[in-house]
Amino acid sequence: MSENSKTNSRPNFFWRLRTTPLRDLARGRLSGSLDVNAVIAASGLPEELALLVQRVARRTRLARVERVEVAHDLLDHFRDGLAEGVSAPTLIEAFGHERITARLIRRSMWRKRSLFARNTRQVVRAGFLCFGVLIVCYLLLAIKHRNREIRIAVDYVAILNAPTEASEPEDRSWPEIREAITTMRGLVGSPLDESMSVDQMLSKIAEASMSESSSPWIDAELEPPALSVNGEVLDATVVDQFFVAAEPALERLRAAANRPLLGFSLSPRGLEDLADRRFFGEESQNLESVAREDEGGFQDSILMLEFPYFGSVRLAARLLAADARRAVIEEDGPRMVADITAMLGLAEQTRTPSIMIAQLVGMSMERLAFTVVLDSIAAFPGNIDDPSLVALADLIRGLDDQRLRLVVADERRFFLDIAQRVYTDDGQGGGSLSLGSPVVEMLGVPSEDLRPEFFDTGAGEFLLGPLVAELTIGRADAVRLWMNTMDAVEEQASRPPWEIDLATLGLIDEIPRESMKDDLMLRIRYFPITLIIPATEGLVFAGAAVRMERDLVLTVLELEATRRRNGVWPHSLDELKFAAGGELARDPFDGSTVRYQYRDGRPLLYILGPDRDDDEGRGMASSGPGSGGWKDLQRDGLAGSSKHWGIGQGSVDSEPDGDIAVWAAGRK
């Protein structure tokens, strides 16, 4: 709209409302007296003078009421000039420079304002200025943030698969394990009920073969398998027939365990080997559709990997454990040693790739093997022939600290893979968090108060992305924190339980993890580290426990060797020579050698318990199934006999009185 048309246009209702002083409105008059254009138009001045006044008034950039006042003054002046006979061009020439005049008028009118109004104006102006600067800075930040890109430079899945890819098929145990279990699936007969899978039935048979008298463990007699699992009783003939028929498959497992590596090919797209898909009952899965469904940034990442074979190798280990126990009853020492060897071999294979869950699964298999040995020596020491006993000791002694150590190298790669997908890459190991949809979908958001859908939109990412990128730690810091945690895990797990310091594991950048739960700013700053960093306390104790259980097994084997030499159980641990190597197991509660009692012709090895008080082998009164006391004393099948071996925590004041028996011979 031109200035002229503006001057002559008829104002609408809302414009009049806007240009009416409150005083007039209060009187019910829609005067529009603050409409500068209307005032100028009503003056009747020649157009060039009217436009001059209009321009000057507008350029003053004053409040509406002030502009009207200025316009009135200038109009009066020109009208007086015209009345005196001065021509419009002369008046315009005498007026001076419009812009300078407008500026001078603006400044002088400001001075007329009250002190409060002037200060308020300055404050508001400063506020707008700061806000503008902030907006500009934020936009620059947004541009900088958008110009940084995520670059997936390393195929960590390929690194995990590299050993398998580089191996010969005959070096891989997984295909043999798969075929052995497939064979055994065909031997189990009908499941106990319709809802039970074949593997569950296999597991049932293994469990029933191992179960015997319930705790307290030290009073247990090795008896024929109870064949009762959770109240369901299996036919002994069925179990016996199974193990007889399964011997070729078990032998296949033993051979598989002797191979260099497991060789399961991992893929973020799921099971790619047809035989694997058939084995795990996923023949119908369409890999292409799976790949298309996930368009996020994680479709090729370690995060998408699944490890379905964990359950299978654990089942294999349990079947071998059950067979080892049967071998002891059948006085077949070599077979028992072969089964234990196979269990430990499978455990070692399972520990690669070295992610935490794989380490835990491998450790559980190792501890199961140890428990079978401890139980066998306790109940039927004479059933194992001398050469087998020596072979068993050599086997266990061969599990040095290096072999049993906790390794989390691939857990480090796990985070590096996530980092390259959620952080931008500055080419020097740095970068900032990018709030793309994959991050939100896969990892969540720092707070439940923030709606994931908002981050998911382009506008949301543009508006909040730079802010979050600046508020959160960068890629280099995140990687450093993760690696520090992994360093701490490996270092703590290499210590004996009584020297483990959990405090270092509970810190992120020297800040307790617990305190982060209640602090939104900390949760945002350390996002996504706080969401995905694993709880590692149990892991380090498990790592320590495996080594201590190994020493317990060696101690028990030495006790049995001494018994065979002397004809009776030793009266003291001083009689143990460890001629072939090894040393006495230690008490995880105080680091001293494990305690021993020889009472009524029965040997007992015990540890102090959380009260760290020697009660001469007397068990805790409150322990036992259903007691609600020290629940770790409960025995849960064979694996439970030494499960509390790694526990070194607890306070003297709150824990029950008494010791924890970790091994005892059941027969006099």
């Binding site: 200025v70 009135h72 003054d73 200038l74 009066d76 002046h77 009208r79 007086d80 000039g81 009345a83 005196e84 005498a94 007026f95 001076g96 420079h97 300078i100 005049t101 001078l104 008028i105 400044r107 002088s108 009118m109 001075r111 007329k112």
Partner: protein
């Protein structure tokens, strides 16, 4: 004769206060009076006069009142306040001192003769 801007900045307010000390005046009237009585020496355009008047008003030296004039139009009339009179008296003394100093230096000769602007 055009007066330097800096000099005008000092002379303008006291000249306007001096004119108003004789009675109320409106804007155009002030411009005319300044031109006539100083023979164009202190001639002011609107671009100088109105900011000057607004400043004097902001300082409380003059006050304005818009009212209907004899010719039926509304005009804004400016009058000197008590504070303005005090200021004018002070300014006159200062200008007299300056004039005397200039005379003694031979920069100016004689006394100011414009009746309405003459230092009392």
């Amino acid at each position: 004769m055009r007066i330097e801007r800096e000099l005008m900045r000092g002379a303008g307010p006291v000249a306007v206060l001096s004119l108003l000390s004789r009675g109320e005046m409106y804007g155009y009237q002030l411009v005319e009076a300044l031109t006539e009585r100083t023979e164009g020496t202190l001639e002011m355009g609107q671009s100088t006069l109105y900011p000057l008047l607004y400043n004097l008003e902001a300082k409380g030296l003059v006050r304005s009142e818009r009212r209907v004039a004899e010719n039926g139009r509304t005009r804004k009339y400016y009058t000197l306040t008590g504070q303005g009179e005090t200021r004018l008296a002070s300014d006159r003394k200062q200008w007299q001192a300056v004039t005397d100093a200039m005379q003694s230096l031979g920069v100016v000769s004689g006394r100011l003769t414009a009746p309405c602007l003459a230092v009392a």
